[in-house]
């Protein structure tokens, strides 16, 4: 009886089998793979376990029935994203070129381009990218490979890529570029690059 979780002894709905054992304990022992001399020999306990085993194997058999499985996840995902696209959060407009030019780019659009720029450095994956101020400061979070020999040098490479993209591809004047390394990632932790399939080139 030592393995009995205390709560099952106090369940008012519990039931004592003719052999004296509590049904809840017999089932809990089975679930946790606990055996003793009694349970291997007692007909009542064995019957109780057999019933539960049959129940579980039957519901699992039904559960893996292909008719029960999701078939068309693709159209479901499209539907979710259609609703999401009605509630976009583009962020604030940032000045392109000179501030008095009345030319602007939405924060999200710029952030996306700058994340992509950071990811041009091999092994780097970008997460949060916050932009603000005049000129625009960048706060960028990245995951870099665990095997990076010189993290400072890598951070500088990222800053350079971000700076070049801001000037040459967008035309956005940047202030400070802060790169924060939030994780060092080993190969098997990282997801395949195809995870990026949703973003535009």
């Amino acid at each position: 009886m030592t393995n009995l979780p205390p709560e099952t002894r106090t369940d008012p709905d519990d039931e004592t089998l003719p052999c004296g054992r509590l049904l809840s304990q017999v089932w809990a022992d089975w679930e946790e793979g606990v055996h003793d001399d009694h349970t291997t020999q007692c007909a009542h306990c064995r019957l109780a376990v057999a019933d539960l085993e049959r129940l579980e194997s039957q519901v699992r058999a039904l559960d893996s029935d292909p008719a029960q499985q999701p078939v068309d996840a693709a159209s479901f995902i499209d539907r979710v994203m259609d609703v999401v696209r009605l509630e976009l959060r583009p962020g604030r407009p940032l000045p392109l070129g000179e501030t008095d030019e009345d030319l602007r780019i939405m924060e999200n659009v710029a952030a996306r381009a700058l994340r992509r720029a950071a990811e041009e450095v091999p092994g780097v994956r970008a997460g949060s990218c916050r932009l603000g101020g005049t000129p625009v400061d960048v706060d960028l979070s990245v995951h870099v490979p665990l095997t990076t020999p010189d993290v400072q040098a890598l951070a500088q490479q990222i800053r350079d890529r971000v700076d070049v993209t801001a000037h040459e591809r967008l035309g956005l004047h940047l202030g400070e570029i802060n790169v924060r390394i939030t994780d060092l990632v080993s190969e098997d932790e990282a997801a395949p690059r195809s995870a990026q399939e949703g973003s535009a080139p």
Binding site: V59, L88, R125, V185, A200
Partner: protein, 195 residues
Amino acid sequence: MTGNPPPGEPPDVEGGRSDDTLMTERAAEGDEDAFAVLVRRHAPSLLRLATRLLGDRTEAEDAVQEAFVGAWRSLPEFQGRSSFGTWMYRIVTNRCLNILRARRPQAPLNELPDLPAPAYTTAPDRITEGRAALHDVQEALSTLSPEQRICWTLRTLDGRSYAFIAKTVGISEQAVRARVFRARRQLTHSLGAWQ
């Protein structure tokens, strides 16, 4: 009697934990493409979860869709204390719990679930070796209380630990164990009686 190996914790619902974190940060900042990646990655397992919990594919799709849209709205406040996958699992489970609760008034009085299950030892018949019909199982499941059904499904079909279920549903582990036990007693009885 060799006893089943206990169902262990299944592999985490997300793939690529590192990438999930990054996509969640991006989506929180309004990057809908990153959110689309998360939806694509998590929709299949969440749909399977909701279908198990509700027993109805259409209702499951509605529940998961609303859960995703709600997640998109509250992502800016999501502090990342848990992973996106765990967070969504919790949202979907609780939404399903509410849907099951709302269903209850339609259940016939004699199926009102929280009555104690009939005594196991006096069940007229044992479950036979034959495979129970889907209909029988679904009918048996509908006699469970929403809380019992959720706890039992997460434990038996989704293979979650009692501690995980307790955290997901927001009740004590002891309460989860009690609910799973009562569900099992009710189900072995119902299915046995129908053979």
